[in-house]
């Protein structure tokens, strides 16, 4: 135990947030103090300096996703971008229709925006996914109606890392003349994300998932063929081409830009390194009995793995190693309803496997040593929890757990 306690806490929860890259912080610092101007101040040097910095960052972000800088609308983060894209398009295109198609495994910012749209009189279709987390393209196409204004499908899932067939979805949307919006928060900066190449018209992103600061994100809005517009969701000074009012977060935007530039240059190498580490982690953990990877192994992010350790409850398992390793669990045992991850449930995992899942998300600063340590600590935790688990004992005795009469509560 002594050697364990000396180690620092290992961070394997990079899908929740990433640390700021020191190079990002360095770029931001002057914009808090000497270059503090308001980018909307047109009458003096302070404002011009700030505006110039914002313009440069806009170019950096646009270069990462290969769009025009004028198509990048800065926001406070991906949640705001999701809200703006969905509600803003719903308002802007009200004359065309009121129907939106999305997927059951989307982020809450998308799903809850859709719920709001339903309350505002809209209609939303929630597509199913298969057991690997992929949508069915035929079901998508069949769901499109004459009054469908938008299809909203995330680029990569936050819990499983599963990547949807963006190009194919884009083709379907183009064929039917509907807008294609994607929450690409988990994908941008980690894999090549080029909205124009796959026919995405609106795309949400966030700086803090790619080694930039929290509190800043962007919405890509396609400018030509088709020219897309969304109705602003906040009233004010008409910043960001009238789509997002509010004084620009200059230091945050500068940091986002710097993070984008670093990602553009280092992404290929980093993805390769992380996918090797992820595979090492996965192979190490899969040596444990009754352990399963959730999500399509052939179409997922390089740095994520979501694993179910059968007959062990995720939150309890995390407690065995949360002094050493920071991860997150698909099981939320904090509410009276004890609801496990809706993403895993939508994939058709039984509640028992969903309650047993842990998400490991590696990042730029993860080392091989940390991965090896995590394999050891997690394996130890799983074995400990299984010794404590009555259902593991029953399973080992050959009892068919499906036939046990449980007392539901």
């Amino acid at each position: 135990m002594d050697t364990m306690e000396k180690k620092k806490l290992i961070y394997l929860d990079n899908n929740a947030t990433t640390p700021c890259d020191p190079r990002v912080v360095e770029a931001m610092l002057p914009y808090f103090t000497e270059k503090f101007g308001n980018a909307a101040s047109r009458s003096h040097e302070f404002g011009w300096v700030a505006e110039e910095a914002v313009d440069y960052a806009r170019e950096q972000v646009a270069a990462l996703i290969e769009t025009d800088a004028r198509e990048v609308i800065f926001t406070s983060g991906a949640t705001e971008s999701d809200n703006l894209a969905l509600k803003g398009a719903f308002e802007m295109y009200a004359r065309k229709g009121k129907h939106i198609i999305t997927v059951k495994t989307e982020h809450k910012a998308v799903l809850d925006s859709c719920r709001r749209i339903e309350k505002m009189g809209g209609e939303v279709t929630y597509l199913d996914v298969d057991h690997q987390g992929m949508i069915d393209l035929e079901a998508l196409e069949a769901a499109i109606r004459p009054d469908t204004i938008m299809v909203a499908v995330m680029w990569a899932n936050n819990e499983t890392g599963v990547i949807q067939p963006m190009k194919e979805i884009g083709e379907i949307c183009a064929r039917h003349g509907v807008l294609f919006f994607s929450d690409a928060t988990q994908a941008v900066g980690k894999i090549p994300v080029k909205p124009k190449e796959v026919g995405v018209h609106l795309m949400a992103m966030s700086a803090h998932k790619m080694y930039g600061p929290k509190g800043v994100g962007a919405l890509f809005v396609n400018r030509k063929a088709p020219r897309v517009k969304v109705t602003a969701q906040m009233d004010g000074g008409g910043h960001e081409r009238g789509m997002r009012s509010g004084t620009l977060n200059v230091p945050g935007i500068v940091g986002f830009g710097q993070a984008a530039e670093i990602a553009r240059k280092e992404m290929a190498e980093e993805a390769q390194r992380l996918s090797r580490l992820r595979d090492r982690l996965e192979q190490g953990l899969l040596k444990l009995e009754e352990t399963y990877v959730n999500g399509n192994p052939d179409s997922r992010m390089p740095h994520v793995t979501n694993i179910s350790f059968k007959h062990v409850e995720g939150e309890g398992l995390m407690m065995t190693f949360n002094k050493e390793i920071a991860v997150s669990s698909g099981s939320a045992c904090t509410s009276a309803s004890l609801e496990p991850s809706y993403v895993l449930i939508a994939m058709g995992l039984g509640d028992d496997l969903a309650h047993s899942s842990i998400r490991f998300s590696l990042g730029r600063f993860t080392t091989e040593e940390e991965v090896d340590y995590a394999i050891e600590a997690v394996s130890k935790g799983v074995n400990h929890m299984r010794e404590l688990s009555p259902i593991w004992e029953m399973y080992k005795e050959g009892i068919n757990l499906e036939e046990v009469e449980w007392s539901e509560h």
């Binding site: 062990v312 409850e313 309890g316 509640d351 404590l388 688990s389 009555p390 004992e393 539901e408």
Partner: protein, 129 residues
């Protein structure tokens, strides 16, 4: 969410983990909860047939830290108690002892249910139910 020191203590050093021979007449077993709900508790008691006192108690639990701590604490409280007195153990006593937050009260309820189920099983086996 931070756990109380007491929960952490029971979680890190669970008392009385194990299995009693359920074929024995003086062993009562309570199995409550469901894997789908995220927690299953199995609590067993071994009763001294002459005195009616619980001489041993064991548990195994699938669940979060609070569920494990609740059942571990329950076995500690059961040992040495006459069964009639054990029936009076109330979930709120577990909540207080372990300082469980409101979202974890169900863990204590489950522990109380497990105690009652184990005693009921013992009584059934011995024609007392």
């Amino acid at each position: 969410m931070a756990y109380s020191e007491k929960v952490l203590d029971h979680f890190n050093n669970p008392r009385n983990v194990g299995t009693l021979d359920k074929s024995k007449k003086n062993v009562g077993t309570g199995l409550v909860g469901a894997p789908e709900c995220g927690d299953v508790m199995r609590l067993q008691i071994e009763v001294d047939e002459e005195t009616g006192i619980i001489k041993d108690a064991k548990f195994k639990t699938f669940g979060c830290g609070s569920a494990i701590a609740s059942s571990s604490l329950a076995t500690e409280w059961l040992k040495g108690k006459p069964i009639e007195e054990a029936l009076e153990i109330d979930n709120m006593a577990i909540v207080e002892e372990l300082e469980l937050p409101p979202v974890k009260i169900h863990c204590s309820v489950l522990a109380e249910d497990a105690i009652k189920a184990a005693i009921e099983d013992y009584k059934k086996k011995n024609g007392q139910a």
